[in-house]
Symmetry: D2
Subunit: 458 residues, 4 copies
Amino acid sequence: MTTVIKGGTIVAADRSYEADILIEGETIKAIGPDLKGDTVIDAAGAYVMPGGIDPHTHLEMPFMGTTAAETWESGSFAALSGGTTMVVDFVIPGEDGMLAAFDAWAERSARQASGDYSFHMAVTGWSEKHFDEMEKVVARGVNTFKHFMAYKGALMVNDDEMFASFQRCAALGALPLVHAENGDIVAALQQKYMAEGRPGPESHAFSRPPEVEGEATNRAIMIADAAGVPVYIVHTSCEQAHEAIRRARQKGMRVYGEPLIQHLVLDEGEYFSKDWNYSAQRVMSPPFRNKSHQDSLWAGLAAGSLQVVATDHAAFTTAQKQFGLTDFTKIPNGTGGLEDRMPVLWTRGVETGRLTPNEFVAVTSTNIAQILNIYPQKGAILPGSDADLVVWDPTLTKTITAANQKSIIDYNVFEGIAVKGLPRYTISRGEVVWSDGQNSGPRPGRGKFIARKPFPAI
Amino acid sequence: MTTVIKGGTIVAADRSYEADILIEGETIKAIGPDLKGDTVIDAAGAYVMPGGIDPHTHLEMPFMGTTAAETWESGSFAALSGGTTMVVDFVIPGEDGMLAAFDAWAERSARQASGDYSFHMAVTGWSEKHFDEMEKVVARGVNTFKHFMAYKGALMVNDDEMFASFQRCAALGALPLVHAENGDIVAALQQKYMAEGRPGPESHAFSRPPEVEGEATNRAIMIADAAGVPVYIVHTSCEQAHEAIRRARQKGMRVYGEPLIQHLVLDEGEYFSKDWNYSAQRVMSPPFRNKSHQDSLWAGLAAGSLQVVATDHAAFTTAQKQFGLTDFTKIPNGTGGLEDRMPVLWTRGVETGRLTPNEFVAVTSTNIAQILNIYPQKGAILPGSDADLVVWDPTLTKTITAANQKSIIDYNVFEGIAVKGLPRYTISRGEVVWSDGQNSGPRPGRGKFIARKPFPAI
Amino acid sequence: MTTVIKGGTIVAADRSYEADILIEGETIKAIGPDLKGDTVIDAAGAYVMPGGIDPHTHLEMPFMGTTAAETWESGSFAALSGGTTMVVDFVIPGEDGMLAAFDAWAERSARQASGDYSFHMAVTGWSEKHFDEMEKVVARGVNTFKHFMAYKGALMVNDDEMFASFQRCAALGALPLVHAENGDIVAALQQKYMAEGRPGPESHAFSRPPEVEGEATNRAIMIADAAGVPVYIVHTSCEQAHEAIRRARQKGMRVYGEPLIQHLVLDEGEYFSKDWNYSAQRVMSPPFRNKSHQDSLWAGLAAGSLQVVATDHAAFTTAQKQFGLTDFTKIPNGTGGLEDRMPVLWTRGVETGRLTPNEFVAVTSTNIAQILNIYPQKGAILPGSDADLVVWDPTLTKTITAANQKSIIDYNVFEGIAVKGLPRYTISRGEVVWSDGQNSGPRPGRGKFIARKPFPAI
Amino acid sequence: MTTVIKGGTIVAADRSYEADILIEGETIKAIGPDLKGDTVIDAAGAYVMPGGIDPHTHLEMPFMGTTAAETWESGSFAALSGGTTMVVDFVIPGEDGMLAAFDAWAERSARQASGDYSFHMAVTGWSEKHFDEMEKVVARGVNTFKHFMAYKGALMVNDDEMFASFQRCAALGALPLVHAENGDIVAALQQKYMAEGRPGPESHAFSRPPEVEGEATNRAIMIADAAGVPVYIVHTSCEQAHEAIRRARQKGMRVYGEPLIQHLVLDEGEYFSKDWNYSAQRVMSPPFRNKSHQDSLWAGLAAGSLQVVATDHAAFTTAQKQFGLTDFTKIPNGTGGLEDRMPVLWTRGVETGRLTPNEFVAVTSTNIAQILNIYPQKGAILPGSDADLVVWDPTLTKTITAANQKSIIDYNVFEGIAVKGLPRYTISRGEVVWSDGQNSGPRPGRGKFIARKPFPAI
Ligand SMILES: [Zn+2]
Ligand SMILES: [Zn+2]
Ligand SMILES: [Zn+2]
Ligand SMILES: [Zn+2]
Ligand SMILES: [Zn+2]
Ligand SMILES: [Zn+2]
Ligand SMILES: [Zn+2]
Ligand SMILES: [Zn+2]
């Protein structure tokens, strides 16, 4: 059983060219002119690109006393509908440790996911048990460990814990990831704003200023450098953090930065709505920033000092957000984006000339596949690669609205944004899982876990 | 007639993997396991990489009253022996204009070259004739125009000439290249040192300090930005120039920087030899710098703020150098490097851990192929690519010495450097043109001119 | 005949303290508690500060085919009314050379000025005559030479001329000043906008973008460094120029930057008025910038990377501005500010907490007195200093309007700005020349030329 | 009883001029030509400068299980002999809290000091008691509080403690000082080097790399910014820390940096001696750095991004150093410098042209007097100022050697350095306390405590 994608322009990270793609089973069999197959997918007038990879999601995450409402079923299908064929979700260990949490995540995802997925593991403390479990986690196909410098009293680790874990990563050939905000200062500022009688969502932004993120980014980089390991900074939202990353890279350090599509296009003005719900729906960490930071992030993607665009998809309903009605520190942190990342980035990045189509592919798929050591199984259009593909029609348009979204959530932070450039088809390991204008739906259980090998230990 | 390269690890810019390569005629036909062909090339234990591209040579260049001694015959063979399968040489127009110079270059190269080649065209003044000829030069397959901000009274163009030419490049879909040193200040400093009775080669370095290069780099970038065109800075030798490039890239400008292998490993101490010949042989522009600049350049290659390693191969004999015995300003500027670029870069870059093998491929071949718009014909190992390949044996060693070099010149600026990592075979469009330990020799006339299409006009 | 300023708080660059000031004749005789004199000036509730020095004016300057309408009589009185007791004006040599121009300037100023003044001399070309005249100009009491990198075809000098003049400055103990914009690019962009049929005042801003100023600033600094002389950049208007200055200072180079009060508070939006006159009145070089640059300039004043606030007062009437009705390149460049510099800076700088009162004194008076080598004759409140003082009442307010200004011009770029903090009295060499609420008027001829000694030659 | 200093050139931070100084009792009475007094001090051919202030000493400090051997008696006299008329010492509270420690310090100093002194108070933890005591400490004349980000398990405070204390400083009008090194990482690296069997003094340097200091500096600045208070970084030793300070100042933040004379002239090579004692004597934190950092520090003093040169005088004998013979972490941290700071800075700074004499005065005395809010009582030559003066003879020379020093210590880190420029006389509140070539000795008990008022609360 073979499929041919015919008549499109293949857009890879390194080049664009006209060719057909022959898919046999789940993988790409051949690329070239005039290929034939049992089924034909029409790509005329379209770009054929590697399926998007969103390396930063929190589906059904237990957090802040509730659970992210986006399920693996709804989330992974929303992703496919937007051209994203793989997500990497963060496993957050509870009291039973990393392996138990891994199992819980694996169970939920295996049962529900329509597209492929993989895991990062969070390191939320330090002990001999952590040391030991990390090796077992690597053996299960996870080569990335997440560290929170914020969420004091909950997920936060301090500098010596982080240093210990980073050294362990180096020994295991794993890559440390960091949520970089100074948790001590955030906690103190939160108290301050509450004490001053300012419990609204805007205080969320005030209590997490860009300097707090820049500082932590700079600190994480120093600690990684001392540990002799590269480091990946998640949700780089501001010039201060980007500056720290650039400064390190200029010294030859191996540091990666990941802006979110939200921070690229939305700004702090969102927190000043008179509608509490509207603002609370936008509460995430780091918060949206002053517009001037957006230029910095876009330039970083073009210059290569930032490498990946993600979403930090952690979607809570308005009802859940209202847990924080009288106390902004109780608003569950997180927004959606999984479904809209690629159309919004194309519209605001490629259509405006900021990014080339090849750079679009690099930052949505290829770079992260290389960073996560799953390239060219994912992130590439090469013979032997998984046939995770998107037939991208640059003439398709829509206006984003929660009313029509695949996400389970009752709002959308991109509401009203008109996008140009959407998937005509999304293909996951050879199967068409989304067709524009057709009545596609989730296919729970067809998504597979993608194990990732460690890098050579340092 | 087919050839298979068997048993090697293919190293491309984006990944490393084990596979054989099937060559049919001049191009790569297939890549995969267990390929078969009429002839077998043994790559066991070796890396198979795209042949090197040196985008900055001056073979048989008329300059400073003489002609660079390295011929197309000797130079292109020296290149092959070091793993470089293509050179891009600078056509310098004389009084008869660009087209006449193009013809002269084409004649010399076609007759002598063993490997492939292409041309950049220099713009050394500005007039309607220049405006008109540029279009014809593009039609002949040249998409890059070189501008000299130094060599006052000779090749130098001033700011409005450069701006006019850059705008013309934008309209033609061509990329401007710049030799960035402030020619006014260099000329004045040269006079000053001569007037002070300091005619030795060390005054060459003193009269071209890093600030003079940094300034011109910064200026060229501003002019390109005003013209709305990317810009490529040749022979970026110092932190000051690199800083200007980084600063521009951080703003989203499209700027490229090209360190030379010489500046990556040699320093200004070379000019303080008691042996006049020794120092004069090292006279080139920009001059070698203080060691601290080397860290900046290496970090730039790792970070992506610098993209290409070249040689500026412009080789004059010691006898020619002696034209400047009593006046350093008359020493023909230029050194060799064509033959040693790749082994020296591997030894000092990859063996030391500064660069990955993939980054090595990127900066010696793939990046410049993309920048020059000849990717993936060159710079790639893909079906359909020219079979320009090097079977790189990381265990081969030698000590560089002029006594054994293929270059025609009577000295070598890398004399005495022990390299580890050398071509076992070099293959040019399917033919083995260099085998380690065999008695390979030049094959004048087999090299072909590689035409390059313009980019879409801006 | 003595005067005592009683009851005020003396604010100097280094400290604030309560004391009276005894003036005898033209100079400060004593500072201390309970001083007595023939006349008493009431400073209760006020700050007593060194009179302001505006080091950048163009009174009655012949320029762009006309003559700046602000006369020495009106201009020097306007200055006094705003607390500025000394101006330094630019002598622009014509065909008859520097000395003849000096004489013309000296005649006009001596006849009309109410307050003290001094001169900078422009170097608008290079020849043996320039070399020789510079020494004579220094002998007449001028230790600063101005260089224009813009105004191509008129005042502009190129790099080797500038380098020659800078070296001459070094030898004479003089300080080079630079108007830093790339004149080649400005001229080309002017032609471009005119050719595109965009002759309005907004094209003035478009043809002089910040990059053009940053580039020239960077170049001037490099040339000064090569010449071994400090350099003073006039009208630093943007982050790009400030960045170049900071970068040089971080290397130990002696570089000064002078933001104008206009650039600190007005932005490019002024050029988009539907009223041609309104926008044309604001045409000056460099043009007003995007608001983001203002933060950079204010921070520079606080950090010490920028040292002086000036006005570039070059005031043309609306009728004169209309010379450029159909061609923005013919709009005489220049705006006023002499009268409003100190109140506006106090209001937007000190009242907002950006600057301390001591820093206000430093940047309006003391720093430039030191840079110009007339400290502590000017710029200080010390026994022996000229009694150039301003009794600054922080409670006085007014709304700036052309209707009430002392300047001769028919508009004011600060129209409508409400200031808080104004001179209660301005004292020039011991005489009260401005009293708030009194009917003060010009006193032509009482101003004196202040000769400035060269620095030790380098 | 009056004294006149005759015939010298007064060098202040803002200017140099020839004048006599009349001292009446302990203060400067008059400055001018031809003054007369009961006693005459000959300043012919000499510079008369404000006495030096060393704001960073640890006399008789209990630390690391021992007590700094330099006593108040020996230390304060050593200071005077080198032109330093005032020291500011750090009170380190023990279990009994700040006030008890203050008393202990006050008792020791009052009994022994020959010159004036003042105190900083260390905040080494956080509680309501700290909160309360800080106000009482301010009432006793201390407006500066020190925070250690290193010395984990001992003096170190963490981020939320520091933030709390900084906010308290803001409320009290006090200035926070910070020892900036990441204590977690230092501790972990110390363990690592010990575990690797590298117990020698060079491991001291390896375990405290510049990045660790740069990181902490950056963090302290962010926390101060969040608290809305200026911050003073002690012993800024490297480009990384200086960069963080510059970056903050460029944004308008009020941040001060204090390089030590040791870091300006000594480098890490000192730790590689084969003589354990030699290297251990040089152990201090931060350690000496690679030479490239020195350029950064000198440029910072010239540019104004660094303001003060201090010593961190904490002098332990060789016998004390030997507590760490088999474990570098037990070597008492600290070196001397009190006596040599001014001659070494003059020799390496002013004689070389890096600093002007006025800048020398600024960084050794005037700037810190302003920062500590005791200007112009100290740090100035003005009527009413304390007559703390040094008659600086630029022709006096000596070679520094422990054999001849006033310090009690048995070695000197500047041993063998030839200085040019020494005090001819040092005058403390009107008394000559040091005369070159005379047999001056300590005068225990004549030094006075200098109380410092808080700044206006923020
Ligand atoms: Zn996060
Ligand atoms: Zn997250
Ligand atoms: Zn060149
Ligand atoms: Zn060249
Ligand atoms: Zn100007
Ligand atoms: Zn001007
Ligand atoms: Zn310390
Ligand atoms: Zn200390």
